[in-house]
Structure formats: structure tokens, C-alpha cells
Symmetry: C2
Subunit: 97 residues, 2 copies
């Protein structure tokens, strides 16, 4: 798994408007109605993380969830981070059928 170039990252981020790149990782913040809704989303994300064998750096304060994704072994952002970011988007803001 190799580190993506900044150009590749910015290109991929065009499809993920809730995310931004800085400090060698991609970041997003999501706000929910309350803690219960936020932690429910975290639980669903946790299962995806295990399935993808890729894990976030994430912080929760009541109804707010802040997520940073990077790939430790590559010392930067890889395809794996985008795979997880897209899975998170599907959980947090599922598209209409």
C-alpha cells in the first residue's frame, strides 16, 4: 500500500466534500442529534473498520464525531483511507435509493 501524492488526494477529495487533507491525513467532522445517535454511527463504523482491517483516529464529544484517517505503515494517505472514508459517508449520510 503506497502513499498517495497530494495531487491524487485532492482529486479523490472532490468526491468527498465533507473531508479535507492536512497534516498528512484526511479529516472530517460529523454532527448528530445527540450522543446516542453519534455512538450508534460509531458502532456501525467500527464494524466497517474491522471488515476493512483499517482503523481511524477518532474523537467524540457528545454529539460530535471527529475522524482522521491515514495509513501508519505508509506514513500518509492511501487508497485504504479513501475506502474507509467512503464507507463512513455511506453510514453517516446514506444516499437515497
Amino acid at each position: 500500500m503506497s502513499k498517495l501524492s497530494e495531487q491524487d488526494i485532492e482529486k479523490k477529495l472532490l468526491r468527498l466534500p465533507d473531508w479535507e487533507y492536512f497534516d498528512n491525513a484526511i479529516h472530517s467532522e460529523f454532527e448528530f442529534e445527540n450522543f446516542k445517535d453519534c455512538f450508534s454511527a460509531m458502532s456501525r463504523i467500527a464494524f466497517e473498520c474491522e471488515a476493512l482491517d483499517h482503523h481511524p483516529n477518532w474523537t467524540n464529544v457528545y454529539n460530535v464525531l471527529t475522524i482522521s484517517l491515514s495509513t501508519h505503515s505508509a506514513n500518509g494517505v492511501t487508497k485504504k483511507d479513501f475506502e474507509l472514508a467512503r464507507a463512513i459517508e455511506q453510514i453517516v449520510e446514506p444516499e437515497e435509493d
Copy 2:
């Protein structure tokens, strides 16, 4: 719910050796075998938070969970934070019968 004095906090922390006081909050860090074990503990803690109606500022990176507790409305540490800290200790490191 009133803010505890630093002296009261330090006294209460004698019974919670995994926790320390700084930056107007009490803090601890717990390490687990892996992400699954860590998130399982987080889920149990989340239920306690809802039951106590008191919520942490917490960060997870793979198998490590960092928790900070303070009471926003009191602008400091209150009894409620110690109540939650003790509940967390029981989940993370349950005492033998």
C-alpha cells in the same frame, strides 16, 4: 452541580490511580489487546454515559482509548465526573469478587 476544588479532586484521585488531573479535567488512557476489545469497552461505557447523562471527551486510536472528563456547565470537575470515572474503571478493569 458545583466545581470541585483542586484539593478535593486530588483527594478523590487517590482512589483512582489510573487518572490524573490537569487542564481543568481528569484524564486517563487505557490500552487493550486490539480494536475490537477497545471498542467493546467503549460500547459498555457509552451505555453508562447515557444512564448517568454525562459524556466524555474521548479519543480512540486502534487499541488505545484516551478519556477526559469534565462538567461543561460547572466549567470544571464535579462529582459527576468521578461517578463516570468509577463506572469506567469497573468496565475496563473489573475488580475480582
